[in-house]
Symmetry: C2
Subunit: 242 residues, 2 copies
């Protein structure tokens, strides 16, 4: 193989990887926009706009299918090794995590339609605080991916503990409203699941951070995790509400 030929292969590989990273950046932008749009329709109690947010999730799903397809083509044509192989595998996994984040954003919009059937309950207004924390984590982890900065990724990973704390307090608050008035039970249940959706977005952001760490270092980021979502062990009694 002459050097012109091998340079050509290198350039094409870089181009294809660049295309892959571009698709993932686009997926990430849409996911960030979808989270913001979901919060907007929740605040405005606009069920028709919520249906549009749900429909927009298709764009993320299609991009993920495109990334998967490009990864298969790239693996078959280029047979990348070592760091190049890790780049391609990370792209596949990160696309899958963003696709799930998109599902959660769509689910937030879907539940907002059910919320609009009853009077608004106060815990709803704390959802945007959670969503902003998750969305900032997503924006920052996408930046860390773009510039291949594993330390930046690790910093985002550390922030999930704060999101978990916000989730835990919103969980407790929602249960309190349920106990005060049985009419709050259905809407508060939706708020609980919406808060859980946002907490799960944080988990997928940490998965992305772990993939960036592995991609750059070849090692796994498996420091024992501080876990501040304590709701699965939580007990709130009716008399706590008084």
């Amino acid at each position: 193989m002459n050097s012109t030929h091998s340079e050509h292969i290198l350039r094409s590989y870089d181009q294809e990887l660049g295309r892959l990273k571009g698709e993932i950046a686009r997926m990430g932008e849409i996911a960030v926009a979808q989270i913001a749009a979901a919060m907007d329709v929740i605040e405005r109690r606009d069920s028709r706009a919520a249906e549009r947010v749900i429909a927009n999730d298709d764009a993320i799903d299609q991009l993920e299918a495109s990334v998967s397809n490009d990864v298969l083509m790239l693996l078959a044509k280029r047979q990348p090794m070592a760091r190049d192989l890790r780049e391609v595998m990370a792209a596949l996994r990160i696309a899958s995590d963003i696709e799930r984040i998109g599902d959660y954003a769509a689910n937030l919009a879907k539940r907002s339609i059910a919320l609009n059937l009853t009077a608004a309950i106060p815990p709803v207004h704390n959802l945007p605080t959670l969503a902003e924390a998750a969305s900032e984590m997503l924006t920052d982890v996408l930046k860390a991916y773009r510039v291949s900065d594993e330390k930046m990724a690790r910093t985002v990973w550390d922030r999930d503990v704060d999101l978990d704390s916000l989730y835990t307090s919103l969980f407790r608050e929602s249960l309190t409203y349920m106990m005060e008035d049985a009419r709050n039970i259905t809407p508060a249940t939706h708020v609980l699941f919406m808060a859980k959706n946002i907490e799960r977005i944080g988990d997928h952001v940490t998965n992305i951070a772990e993939n960036i760490w592995f991609l750059v270092t070849g090692q796994s980021l498996d420091t024992p995790r501080r876990k501040a979502d304590l709701t699965s062990r939580m007990e709130v009694r009716p008399n706590d509400t008084q």
Copy 2:
């Protein structure tokens, strides 16, 4: 390359793929056992045994790490193409879905510990029906994977609608108990999330079915999905309980 050499390569590739499929079969068996163990500790209200179920999830996580590692090695060493490449990518994705299923089983055990802090509420006793449906789907999809039968996988995929229906009725029942007595709110919330965990196990089984379909046919299984989980749009009013 002489024929002995190429036969040697083929045999090694088949051996490595066999090893990968063996690890996935083992992951699947542990996941099925973990779901059964979670239901057992819930029924017996045994928090110490629940802690053991939570700890056992490590075995699945370790196997998934091992599958990921083997996939990277196999891609680098063998550079598989076409169906062989699809086999390897399917292994990676299926291992990831089983790992998530393991997380849900562990989460069921974790929430059972919180449930044991208050008196038992009747909806708990409907969890095993859901879990059995999910577990049978998992067993059958693992069989479809073992024998590479895409039609069998498709049949499992179709059954998720029934699991969604079971989930919807348990969701409604739990809300009704919450409305009857505020003391039921905390345990019923845990039951809601536990039911959701099982419903999500079904979603991961359908992902596995879709991967088997793609692996065998090279096409995606994207028939518009009947969706019977209507709980995210559900409204249950207190006076429905009378």
